[in-house]
Chain length 429, copies 2
Amino acid sequence: MQRLKHSDPDFETRFARLVDGRRESDEDVSRTVADIIARVRAHGDTALAEYTIRYDKFAPASEDDWQISAATCEAAYKALDGDVRDALQLAADRIRAYHEAQLPANRDYTDDVGVRLGATWRGVDAAGLYVPGGRAAYPSSMLMNAIPAKVAGVERLVVTTPTPKGEVNDLVLAAAHIAGVDEIWRVGGAQAVAALAYGTERIAPVDVVVGPGNAWVAEAKRQLYGVVGIDMVAGPSEILVIADGENDPDWIAADLLSQAEHDPTSQSILITDDANFAEQVEDRVDVQCAMLSTNRTARESWDANGALIVVEALEDALPLANRLAAEHVELAVADPEALMKGLRHAGSVFLGRHTPEAVGDYVAGPNHVLPTGRRARFASGLSVLDFMKRTSFIALDEKSLASIGPAAVTLAHLEGLPAHAKSVELRLK
Amino acid sequence: MQRLKHSDPDFETRFARLVDGRRESDEDVSRTVADIIARVRAHGDTALAEYTIRYDKFAPASEDDWQISAATCEAAYKALDGDVRDALQLAADRIRAYHEAQLPANRDYTDDVGVRLGATWRGVDAAGLYVPGGRAAYPSSMLMNAIPAKVAGVERLVVTTPTPKGEVNDLVLAAAHIAGVDEIWRVGGAQAVAALAYGTERIAPVDVVVGPGNAWVAEAKRQLYGVVGIDMVAGPSEILVIADGENDPDWIAADLLSQAEHDPTSQSILITDDANFAEQVEDRVDVQCAMLSTNRTARESWDANGALIVVEALEDALPLANRLAAEHVELAVADPEALMKGLRHAGSVFLGRHTPEAVGDYVAGPNHVLPTGRRARFASGLSVLDFMKRTSFIALDEKSLASIGPAAVTLAHLEGLPAHAKSVELRLK
């Protein structure tokens, strides 16, 4: 963990290192992934079977074994404890409500020269969702990725997930049941992404692939971008807490640790205008961390990537926050609204002392799939828009074509495209 | 050009070939582009200068020579003929109006348990626009790419364009003046995209890179996706005309040729329910083509990629059109509205007999940067959204946290994330 003081002479150097520091792996897997994609494209299910044995040590015993059935998911749902089922259902309902309100409006209007213009939004026909195997598979992620697709109107929502040595994650299956997933295939890695993009004999191709994954999965999505649509590449998670000295240091320490416990590459940063408060938080982090079952991960993350930054005034936090462009930003201050106005880059903002980031991970409603690694400068959280596309339309009649057509003829000639000009001229006669 | 009849026994085989046929180059430039990006990242302007001499045969004579000034663009604008200036201005005004109406609404509401939720859209700080050199540089493309960025609120809009042997395109500069471009740098290729993404000593980095380019530029954008945001990879242009026999065959022939004249890889397809009409169009294509100054390109495109498809009834065109998912779809029929309802995948639709696709290229208002190569299945035309990002926000108070917080605690424990649970539990006490 680093301690920075805004007034220190070396502040800029150290802060810049914090902003530019890459916590993402640079692993060059592009050649291997290109090979996997080419093989799946050429050999379909045969290639999938080979990779699934090699990487997941799993060989389906029968044709049915390639999929996890809707009945299995329903059974997993029914086997949940009541309070767990209620919590997942509350989360699903709230996520659905938020994303339904996010649906974009179609446009259709006629302008002052009589040209009818507009745009129609539609869900894609089919979407694929990559769900990692093992520790990284969370039921909450299933809800956050699958529900927006269904709200967008996607008719066929396909999950691929590795089942190492045949092992499945019942919580994730229960969440798939709640979200209304249509197919689940027991394949993972770059080969699963290739199968989703190009299709195989068993798996029909999809139009969009989303979901988190390791370096191979991320690289496969990148290479297949254009064959299908993809969501933003996700990196290690991060939180920036901007807090004044009036907070309970235990609360803020827990918030920092809630990010740190995800992964050793996670990052937790506190900016405060109160140096004493920073010390108290540091102390509470150490105490709480020792008691966590996730102690090892949280400790490693906090030691390697954590930072406490002391500024003279809370407003001084804003330019720093905008440079960090963090995935999650908590504003634990008396007037969070005022600070938010000046915050240009953030994935999601948590306002006030009673909004711990973790409520956003589960039940608040907005998506928890958010831009990481300074990408909030240009990227947004996952939304229904990732599963939709827009078709614009134009309708002219004789009169409106007479009004704007001649300008099109002029520009077409200017650009050396006579057939463009001709197609308008013929109709102007 | 191919003639297909829906009722022919080999129709499906031949149509599938049309749908799956790739007209895009498979050129493997990834290694070269990776090297260029690495060198620009490491050596900045020195690398840019080397590549600019090597590929563009251009060595700036002075520091000023790296840029094209606002004064130069203004002079180019003032030197335009009156009718050209008016046409460009009309186009710019109509593009601006359409894209202003496209700006997304912010959200801010409090739900029934007292949780305040919402999302704020903001333009990115800086955007880069790649403008090809030579033949492919069109003033209309400058307007279509630059105006949405400015409407989105982008403060710094940076153009990079190669100037082979120092040559500049005055029409493009005039359009840059109209669109309000802030900087123009005389660099091109993958090295320009790398400079935009990572910045150099002279060029400050941007957040989003858009614009068409050759295979090197497209590959550079793909490799830098995630460092910056990018627009969809664009392939060869295409038009699908669905027309009944009541059209003037000359009009439809001109529409098909307006696409064919772009590039030998362009594709023009007519689907009609009238076999005689198809023959008439074929005849008129040949006659008109012979008279075009773009004859060679149009001929090559039509011969290699054109198709005339005869169906029994117009409704039969819809499933075919949805499989083609074309960039441009003209509905030259009596009731275009009815057909549009069944058209699920298209970049842009042109309704009725008086809406030639070329009006959309220039003056209608909607963007002419549209998804190609079947990507309308999942992608949309360029819009203000490509230059904006959304920040979600959440605000709870004691009462609303008491309402939904316990479910978050349950789910956090379920996922083995005790610090997540703790951050909520502490506030529930």
